[in-house]
């Protein structure tokens, strides 16, 4: 074997061994335990405190039954209560703790309803510049039952 080839192969070997060594240091221990991700993240996520109670719990037990039945029939039935009203687990377990007020800003509604090229054209979208004179959407539209202006 040519001596300069030995040098080159040695250098390549150093790079490969160095890569494997550094990789062995930085790959988390639990990587690949369940799949191509860090196994510990499952436990970390499980240990988070529950903040969302789910839309079902709003309509249960005669709390917001009327509003719930209106919403459940509306075109917004795919948007959960807590999407706008915020996480409410604490409110469900203790009624005295009020959730933060609903987000009713134009920008928040616009996340779904401002005109955007990547949305199906049948989906209701508005141009924020020309529609609604910068009023809050809920001034005209009922968010619990859209189309019911």
């Amino acid at each position: 074997m040519q001596p300069h080839l030995k040098r080159a192969i040695f250098l390549l070997g150093v790079v490969i061994v160095g890569f494997i060594f550094i990789r062995s240091l930085v790959v988390p221990d639990s990587y690949g335990q369940y799949g191509a991700y860090r196994g510990d993240s499952v436990y970390e996520n499980r240990n988070f405190t529950v903040e969302y109670a789910g839309s079902q719990s709003c309509g249960d037990e005669n709390c917001h039954k009327t509003l719930y039945s209106i919403w459940a029939d509306s075109r917004h039935k795919t948007v959960n209560c807590e999407t706008c009203h915020g996480p409410s687990e604490k409110h469900v377990s203790n009624v005295r703790i009020m959730p933060s007020p609903a987000n009713d800003s134009r920008e928040f509604c616009g996340k779904c309803h401002y005109k955007m090229v990547a949305r199906p054209s049948s989906f209701p979208q508005i141009d924020p510049e020309s529609h609604g004179e910068n009023l809050k959407c809920a001034y005209c539209h009922n968010p619990h039952k859209p189309w019911f202006v």
Binding site: Q2, P3, H4, L5, R7, A8, L11, L12, V15, F19, R23, V26, V27, Y31, A36, Y37, R38, K77, T78, K111, C112, K115, M116, V117, A118, R119, P120, S121, F123, Q125
Partner: protein, 383 residues
Amino acid sequence: MVVELFNVNWKVAWGMLIANYFFLTGLSAGSFLLGALSEVFGQEKYRSVSKMAIILATILLIIAPLNLIAELGQTGRFWTLLTGFHPTSPMAWGSFLLIAYPLLCVAEGYFLFRRDNAKRAVSGSMAFLYRALVLWRTDLTEATIAFDKKMVKTLAIIGIPLAFAVHGYTGYILGVVVARNLWSTPQMPVLFLLSAMVSGTALMILIVYIMQKFFSSKKYADSTLIVNLGTLLMVFLLVDMLYIFFELTMRWYSYELSKDSVRELLFGKVSFYFVWIEMILGAIIPFLLVTIPKIRKNVGAVLLASALSLMGVFAMRMDFVVGGQFYSRNGVIDNLYTSFPLYLPPLTEVMPFAAIWALGFFMFALAVWTLPWEYKEGAAGGD
């Protein structure tokens, strides 16, 4: 209950930087394959570009992944692609291809430039640099020179499938996105490879002309070489245009959604870019320039054709990457993007774009300043 999922916050998630990445890897693969013409297939008339080809292939592929890193929201996390390998993710394969391919280019360059570097390593103010470039081994016997030549050929042979893979995979990651009509076809990798050959040849023509005319010892551009490369460009342009013709016509006979994406390319919102800039200005006119017998021997015509086809290939990357996102599976989307220009890249993409190109030019200047890129008749070492 999730009924439909559509993009909430991003209009064009993959913008100019991704197109630029595809463009750069294409240029790199094209340059490498052009260099392999003489090293592997013994096409002696292209011998003098093989050194420039390996310099370009290496530099373009070093700067190409920087686009991807800049494009990440969390740029500091790019290395997790190497630590968290996912065997069924094409992007994970790509991250290893993007390392293996420049390594191979550097290795080939080492053997290709070794003889010239070893000669310069003996004396001079920069002797230390050249000693480092030959790894402190300056043996120059008949045997080592013949061996270097063999190594260059071997590495070039290994490099050909690797170059196909590293660029084919860029088309692959578009092809596997089922949600986009325009992308979701197995032809995508081939389409990208064919235009890569066009852009690689076009860039080589421009670089060879500029370097020979202004920076070589003779200050004279080899017009036969330029015209020969122009002939190659003609062949690649022809194959590329034929392939696009097949793709468009066959998709026209295909199912409705596929037909829709072609209709949009030809008559819809991207049509100005696709028909006029990519096809007419970027393919048909350059093809005529390097085909019509009276003007094809003219160096100026070949240079103009190269510049136009480079622009055409960049337009192709933009049309497919950005344009592909205008049409989703739900059919043609018809709002907002109706005015000219269709898409303006945000500053967060323009700045890295400029920086990456500047870095590329800087690295290229450094490479041609230090490495003996000039081909000398009979005196060539590893080549």
